[in-house]
Amino acid sequence: MVSVAFINPLSDEGEIIVRELGDFGRVLSDNDDLMQIVTGSRSQEISNDSFIPRNYVDLAIKRIEWFVKKKNDRNFDNNQYDFLFNTEILKFDVIAFYLLCQAVGVKYGPNSRESRVMVESQGKLIEYRLEKLSKNVREEVVTNILNSLISSTHIKWTFFEDLISTKKLKLQDLILDQGEIVLDKDDFLERFSHKIHGRKPEKMYEALIGDRIKELVMIKMVMQNTENYILKVGEKSDREIEPNPILLELADKISDVLAASVRSYGIGGSYRGNVKASALNPKAFPPCVKKVMEGMKSGGRNDAIIMFLTPFISYARLYPSVFSENITKQISDIDPSLSIVQNEVLPLIFEAAERCTPPLFEDQPQDKVNLNAKLGFGMHQDPDLKNEGETIWYTPMSCEKVKIHLPSLCKPDENCKKIGNPLSYYNMMIWKVRKEAKTESTTDNKE
């Protein structure tokens, strides 16, 4: 039987393992037992010493490295990390998990890229670990963990509020009835058998809920608990005078792994890391932006021009890498004289406003002030450096927000499937356009 701590390090068993560690300083010492388990793992690649974690901290880094490389590296070799799926590594793995959470919590807090990667990596690790188990063992482990996480047999959907809020679970993924989530087979049959016609209720249960949804719920709950634990560590460390230097050092190493991945693969793909500010190319605009550029009818004009288009155009022109760099800037950091704003950004927005029916600024001239505010120049008629910072420079709306605020704008094309923000669409298309141009010019040169 696999220990539940192998899947859920935050379980009681996991906590016992942590308590048994003893001297914290040991986490940096070479550990023969660990190395023996790693090298003894069935498919483990041992041709290079760097594949073998020597101590707890090394193992922690390997966990993150595995996730980042698996996600981004086309030549990824899982055999270099086979030890992560060897159940004998349990005690070391649990300690590595806690080290990672604490390092991230202490140095970066819960709302950081490092935290997100840690939480996602734990989710992926669970998925792959479960896949390697036999069906019966897998079912047993999942049931045991779920039972420990959910005490009642009647689970209100609001019990998963955190998971729903952070979009780890979608309400649509769950079968809801009278405010409760249906997970248990007998419960399902009791509630719905009489309504199902021409299909076998048991089979329908297996398809719609079964192990799939149980595992999904369990994995997402462990991920949420991991996030909550990082938050708790972060809050606790705010009250402490000096964090442990080993954790700080580990935190730096995690950051190095992520930075190396950005250098090698870009964040989440191969194009976003390199986007530089340059003249706008309207051909690369996503369908929603193109629609607003054509002008809007009365009703949605204000939100479309002020809330949606203004941040999009300004960031696309001045700071297209805002989401990958994740550093807050003001417009003057990029355009000190505001000449680009005056000559390239505002004219495009005004053109779109003019094409509205009726033209936006004709019957609502006060909206110029709102436009200015969204660029960070306060509630004034025109952008002026002396007012910059009175309001914040609004970042472009995500696709999710567009669907809520301006549902009529969202007419996705094929490229929209891969992105979550219209600005990412623009960056992707710009990258594609440049790549194509480069290929063409290379071909021309050859000719």
């Binding site: 609001t158 509020e161 729903i164 809020s165 979009k167 309400l171 079968i175 809801l176 719609l208 969202c410």
Partner: protein, 325 residues
């Protein structure tokens, strides 16, 4: 029943008459009157939007005096509850709200410019669907319906949802309106099974089926659905009696599976406009005060006791309108 052409804007004199002679503080529903000191009020005195905000009333009598003296163009109160409503400070909770405005619903059979009996009734039908889902799927019970003057507000006060954040509310909206096409292929151990949404009589697939059914039965030859061309729309209209009888499988066969997919995709993307989602995710929104006058259309914003039988042209028309004839 009053005719829609009589529902022109109310004059300042008519507003005065309404608040001084017809309106009664007892018409303010208990769910607001009992929490009056925790809510922010806002007023529009001249018809240019609610500029007079951050108003607070310690008890219903003070609200009564204000309305009778100031006879505003429009009156609003917050869906949010605050410890210090005067500064909108210390937010404690907010009603979960769905705003169905008859003039903004995506499929209207009437094609009128503003609102009329037909689209108001369609808004009412949408509200009935929303309420069913809130009760049957989400298990919510403390639900109030308000006729706003041009549509309906569904206001939910169950403790389970009043504290949830905008992200959860946004997911609730998507579930309630059927904004995503449910999966139709599921993997079992050794096989894949296919269940279209219409063979699953519970959960989200069932909600989606209900919304698709509503939409298809309300389409007309001028309707506009993403990716659905005139020919396909014509076929949908031709075969939709099958859906009326819940013969979904046959409908899908007649239309063709790929074209059916286009139809449901188009309806899913349109469904987000069934309600004004901005209102649902706003934790500090102010909504028209039930019992107050919608001066633009001369109708009473009024709590609906029975949505199945509610007729705004009988129950929400102030007396002064009848005297205009």
């Amino acid at each position: 029943m009053i005719k829609i052409e009589y529902l022109t804007p109310a004059s300042p004199e008519e507003r005065k008459r309404y608040y001084r002679e017809e309106w009664d503080i007892k018409q303010v529903p208990d769910f607001i009157a009992h929490s009056i000191q925790e809510r922010e009020f806002g007023f529009d005195h001249v018809g240019r939007g609610p500029n007079d905000r951050y108003k607070v009333f310690r008890n219903p009598d003070l609200l009564k005096r204000f309305l009778k003296v100031r006879t505003p163009f429009a009156a609003y109160c917050s869906v949010a509850f605050y410890d210090k409503p005067r500064r909108r400070d210390k937010w404690t909770k907010a009603e979960l709200v769905f705003d169905v405005d008859a003039k903004d619903i995506p499929i209207r059979t009437c094609e009128c410019e503003g609102v009329c009996e037909i689209c108001l009734n369609e808004a009412r039908e949408i509200v009935c669907g929303i309420i069913d889902t809130l009760k049957e799927d989400l298990g919510l019970k403390n639900i109030h319906i308000v006729y706003s003057g041009r549509g309906y507000h569904v206001r939910v006060l169950d403790d389970d949802v009043t504290h949830v954040n905008s992200d959860v509310r946004s997911q609730i909206v998507k579930y309630i309106v059927g904004a995503e096409v449910p999966e139709n292929e599921y993997s079992l151990d050794y096989e894949k099974v296919s269940y279209e949404h219409f063979v699953i009589p519970f959960g989200y697939p069932n909600v989606f089926t209900e919304r698709v059914k509503y939409s298809i039965l309300h389409l007309n030859e001028h309707s506009n659905l993403d990716e659905v061309n005139k020919k396909l729309l014509k076929d949908v209209l031709k075969y939709r009696p099958l859906i009326e009888d819940n013969n979904w499988g046959m409908f899908k066969n007649k239309i063709g599976p790929l074209r059916y997919k286009k139809v449901v995709n188009g309806i899913a993307s349109m469904n987000m406009s069934l309600v004004d989602a901005k209102v649902s995710i706003d934790l500090k929104r102010i909504l028209r005060l039930p019992s107050s006058l919608h001066s633009m259309v001369s109708m009473k914003c009024t709590e609906v006791k029975n949505i199945e039988t509610f007729d705004p042209f009988k129950e929400a028309v102030p007396k002064f309108v009848y005297e205009r004839k």
